[in-house]
């Protein structure tokens, strides 16, 4: 399969011209928000902001699941790492994110057994190899990743693996979008909807954006042409006065999503409230492990009580995550908060808005 067309500069140029034309016809300023860290990076890495017409602003929303993990959850992961006999496994993304007092990377430096894995199945395999240790997997991520964790739990159960458990800090996207659309401080005209989250959940869950809020959304892929296509389709909707949920990323997303994956999630997880760092509690946006799988729930198996969480003073991540403040408008950006010495999660995470701006654009550099 030849997918190189999705990086083709000639196709890209055609789309940019079409975007210019449509934006000109629209005439008014529009704010388009993406809510997926991978889009944040794709836009920054491909220099797409620079080719947008004057009246189109691309904003980054709370799409970095690492950035929106509550301090308290990171503190719990750290407390788990401090328990004797526990190996904490994690995706690389989480290692450097600061909790209230420490980070997984710092704990590792202090001698705790914290290991990076690429897949929850690697953590499961580790549990099989180390029967005398408790292997905990720190599960962070949106709907793209949740089915994998559900599958890992079911595999553990089927294989009778007793020393494997999951600490779930998962979150879901659609209700968070509702909170953003409902927030008077946040004024978004259209959403670039996450590609791979939608691979799992399909397009239905976003319908309310169009029907309730009159806000168009386009499910978009991650190659530069995909992103431009998404922007073009959104501008077309705005220009024609439509508000629909469209799939731009046809090759990767079906309207019904992935029913097998959805069933796995339904079997293992149930919706709970979740605390989004910098935003607050958004009801029903978390996923808790169902009681019948308590056995694989790390905080049930290894109860811990970390010290009370505390927030960082001066950090404006909350406003950045909601698109109210642009990264370089944060008082700490580049001065006190840099990728080398990050203060907030937006700068630490490799796909946080601030890190993306700092790394790929001239904004952060004097």
């Amino acid at each position: 399969m030849d997918l190189s067309g999705f990086r083709d500069p000639v196709i890209a140029r055609g789309l940019i011209e079409a975007i210019d034309t449509t934006a000109a016809k629209l005439g008014r300023p529009v704010k388009i928000m993406e809510v997926c860290g991978t889009h944040t990076v794709a836009i920054a890495k491909n220099g797409l902001r620079a080719v947008m017409p004057e009246n189109v602003t691309l904003l980054s929303g709370p799409g970095c699941p690492v950035c929106v993990t509550a301090n308290e959850d990171i503190d719990i992961a750290i407390e788990l790492a401090r328990q004797p006999g526990v190996i904490v496994t994690s995706f690389g993304d989480m290692m450097k994110v600061p909790g209230s007092y420490s980070s997984l990377a710092k704990e590792k430096a202090d001698g705790r057994d914290v290991r990076i894995v690429y897949s929850p199945l690697d953590a499961l395999a580790l549990a099989e190899r180390e029967p005398d240790r408790q292997v905990v997997f720190v599960a962070v991520g949106f709907e793209t990743t949740v089915p994998l964790i559900a599958a890992a739990i079911l595999r553990a159960q089927a294989a009778g693996i007793e020393n494997f458990s999951i600490f779930s800090a998962h979150k879901t996207v659609p209700k968070a979008l509702a909170a953003l659309a409902d927030d008077p401080d946040v004024q978004i005209d259209a959403f670039i909807l996450p590609g791979h989250v939608s691979t799992i959940i399909g397009s239905e869950p976003y319908r309310f954006l169009a029907e309730q809020f009159g806000t168009p959304g386009v499910i978009t892929g991650f190659e530069p042409v995909d992103v431009l296509q998404g922007v073009y389709m959104l501008l077309k909707q705005l220009e024609e006065g439509r508000a629909e949920i469209e799939i731009g990323y046809h090759r990767g997303v079906m309207p019904e999503g992935n029913p097998t994956a959805k069933a796995l999630v339904e079997q293992v997880f149930e919706p709970i409230d979740a605390d989004w760092r910098g935003i607050g509690v958004i009801p029903g946006t978390g996923l808790g492990i169902r009681p019948e799988f308590d056995h694989y729930n790390a905080i049930k198996r290894i109860p811990v009580s970390p010290p009370p969480p505390k927030e960082i003073k001066g950090c404006q991540c909350g406003e950045v995550l909601r698109g109210i403040t642009l990264p370089f408008q944060c008082k700490l950006f580049g001065k006190g908060c840099t990728p080398e010495h990050p203060i907030g999660p937006c700068m630490v995470s490799s796909e946080g808005s601030c890190a993306a701006y700092y790394r790929f654009t001239d904004y952060g550099r004097s």
């Binding site: 011209e17 994998l148 691979t199 046809h250």
Partner: protein, 83 residues
């Protein structure tokens, strides 16, 4: 949260796993989410799992439409440089 890349299914292995090829690199991934995948299919791989089969027809259709965008713009009376 969305880093997933297309990979070609090379062989189906036991235990609902498959060996996939990403530009010459091979890895074992789980087919728990895509039990219907067979050899030769392209799948999106995320953290050791296949999320979905990539629809080649849709991919080609999309590219065709995108390639013709400059023509649409021309219809609307806008001249494109280098088109």
């Amino acid at each position: 949260m969305c880093l997933a890349i297309p990979a070609r299914v090379v062989t189906i292995e036991e235990g609902r796993m498959a060996s996939v090829d990403i530009m010459g690199v091979t890895r074992k991934v789980s087919l728990d989410l895509t039990p219907e995948a067979t050899e030769g299919d392209f799948v999106l791989v995320h953290a050791g799992f296949a999320l979905q089969i990539v629809d080649e027809q849709y991919a080609n259709e999309t590219l065709e439409i995108l390639r013709s965008i400059p023509d649409f713009a021309e219809d609307e009376g806008i001249a494109l440089e280098g088109a």
